[in-house]
């Protein structure tokens, strides 16, 4: 399997993915089932070594799409393959190649960063000592003081927690990194540091990176290609320069986004 991975030109391929959620709500005696079409027929190809941005407003389906790639959610229709392996049929092999960072840094909040990283690394079979050394190295580069590694995680700022979440993902040396809004809620400095780090990871680790965001500047700065998602559908998928040229009337990505989704992004943010 490992040698196959190296021969694959595509790191990720989605073929006609659909996902509909049904939620049941009880209103007195009535049972009301609402259906949400989260992802509607998405096709995607990501060559290895690329940074692909998924840009879209809240609720457009970014996290749902990423969960399906991460083997956490099963699509209703369509297939997803990672380095040529189907995520459902070769779940274990795919899991070994990927890792994911989510919006909310999900940790055992009373445990220290060290303990959390030890747990995560252990699950991937990384020996504890090596994991600790690696984690310290990664966090140092992210501008994280060593002393912060030995206090409960709940006492760290969101930015610091997010950095540890990235370190956790990197510890397992994934060849495909799925970053779900990794910089949302970070201050500008931390955001910058995380972005620099993403670029560095790509350069040093031969990793393919898929990053979702609703930050235009971030998408423009990081991504080789940007797919704009709206209500579960891709409305564009191109390089940033091409998107701006074609849709943004050379006034930037924001303008392109507005034209493509027919909505004002700033207002969208406020209403949610």
């Amino acid at each position: 399997m490992e040698t196959d991975v190296l021969n694959q030109a595509l790191a990720l391929e989605c073929h006609h993915i659909w996902k509909v959620f049904s939620n049941t709500n009880h209103h007195g005696w009535h049972r009301i089932v609402t259906k949400t079409e989260a992802i509607c027929g998405i096709d995607l190809q990501v060559p290895r070594h690329q940074i692909l941005g998924i840009l879209g407003p809240n609720g457009s389906g970014k996290s749902t799409l990423i969960r399906m790639m991460a083997t956490l959610l099963i699509p209703d229709q369509g297939t997803i393959s990672v380095f040529g392996m189907d995520v459902l049929r070769h779940r274990m092999e795919v899991r070994r190649l990927i890792n994911r960072v989510s919006v909310e840094a999900s940790f055992f909040k009373k445990l220290t960063a060290r303990e959390n990283l030890a747990y995560a690394a252990g699950l991937y079979g990384v020996p504890n000592l090596r994991a600790q050394q690696e984690a310290t190295r990664i966090l140092e580069r992210l501008g994280m003081p060593k002393a912060k590694l030995v206090i409960p995680l709940e006492n760290l700022s969101r930015g610091q927690q997010q950095k540890i979440a990235i370190a956790r993902a990197l510890l397992t040396s994934p060849t495909l990194m799925l970053l779900d809004e990794p910089t949302t809620g970070l201050d500008p400095t931390s955001r910058r540091e995380v972005q620099d780090f993403v670029l560095q990871v790509r350069a040093e680790h031969d990793a393919t990176i898929l990053i979702s965001t609703h930050d235009m500047q971030e998408a423009e700065r990081l991504c080789d290609r940007i797919a704009i998602i709206d209500q579960g559908r891709f409305v564009a998928n191109d390089s940033p320069t091409e998107l701006i040229r074609q849709w943004g009337e050379n006034r930037g990505l924001e303008q392109a986004f507005f034209r493509l989704t027919g909505r004002d992004f700033a207002n969208e943010e406020e209403s949610l």
Binding site: R67, A70, T71, I98, S106, F108, A121, Y124
Partner: protein, 269 residues
């Protein structure tokens, strides 16, 4: 070989993680333990209110119930709550995304539950021995231990089935595991012979593995029955474990698949 090593590391890291968590919630651990000890003593004291001739046996009868229930309920609770806990912390997607067999994950949870349950029950046992100076002649301790070992497996099976509920519905599932635990306490004859239960409840006691565990360990300790006579029951318990554990695992993996379809693995929604 490498794969085995990887799974073993994962197993170790799950057990270690839980012990780290105990350390962080040490205050609560002490409180729970205190309550456990007081609860057991209170129940044991009921025995002292009886005529002297019945005291010793009644105290021991009750203490066996309290200790075994202590151990088995911890076992059930720790396993059944493993998923709720991880979901509450938001780590469940990370734990379930790791490239390990679900069996390894669940085995780690169970291994921890057994170690932790034994540890806590030992402390309560020491407290009881310190408080009540009753001695039991002819007690067959080895037999009692054998019974206890036999009942670990079926309770793990029950715990695995309980763990499924929070996977299906976050809050209702956690509530349901509490109810199951309550019913087990009622029907298993923890502090009284099941013969005092009304007939319709007796059917439930036949289904609870704890009923057999309690009956057999009491006959081993109080009546000093030989190992031979309880060996049969231990074997039966063990066999029921061989059915309940795979059944629990199967239910668990099916529920996980269901959750992956419905999108209920994530913390909110």
């Amino acid at each position: 070989m490498i794969a085995m090593e990887r799974e073993a590391r994962a197993l170790g890291s799950i057990v270690r993680r839980n012990f780290h968590l105990i350390r962080r919630y040490l205050g609560w651990e002490v409180v729970f333990l205190f309550y456990n000890i007081v609860n057991t003593l209170t129940i044991g004291l009921i025995g002292l209110s009886l005529p002297p001739s019945q005291r010793a046996t009644t105290v021991v009868y009750l203490a066996i119930g309290a200790l075994l229930w202590n151990f088995l309920s911890i076992l059930f609770q720790e396993i059944a709550n493993a998923v709720s806990w991880e979901r509450w912390e938001g780590t469940i997607e990370y734990s379930f995304m790791a490239p390990i067999h679900r069996l390894t994950y669940l085995f780690g949870v169970c291994l921890y539950a057994v170690l932790y349950g034994l540890l806590r029950t030992m402390v309560v046992l020491l407290a009881i021995m310190f408080f009540f100076h009753v001695s039991i002649r002819h007690a067959d301790w080895m037999g009692a231990l054998l019974v206890l070992m036999g009942s670990v497996l079926p309770f793990i099976g029950l715990g695995l089935m309980g763990a499924v509920l929070p996977l299906i519905s976050t809050e209702r599932g956690a509530q349901a595991t509490q109810i199951i635990q309550g019913v087990l306490l009622l029907v298993s004859g923890v502090y009284y012979p099941v013969s005092v239960l009304p007939m319709w409840l007796r059917w439930f006691s036949y289904a609870s593995p704890a009923t057999y565990t309690l009956e057999a360990s009491r006959s081993a300790i109080l009546q000093g029955r030989s190992i031979g006579s309880v060996a049969g029951i231990s074997l039966e318990l063990l066999l029921s474990g061989f059915i309940l554990v795979p059944l629990g695992l199967w239910i668990f993996t099916s529920a996980e698949r269901w959750a992956m379809h419905r999108g209920t693995l994530k913390r909110n929604g």
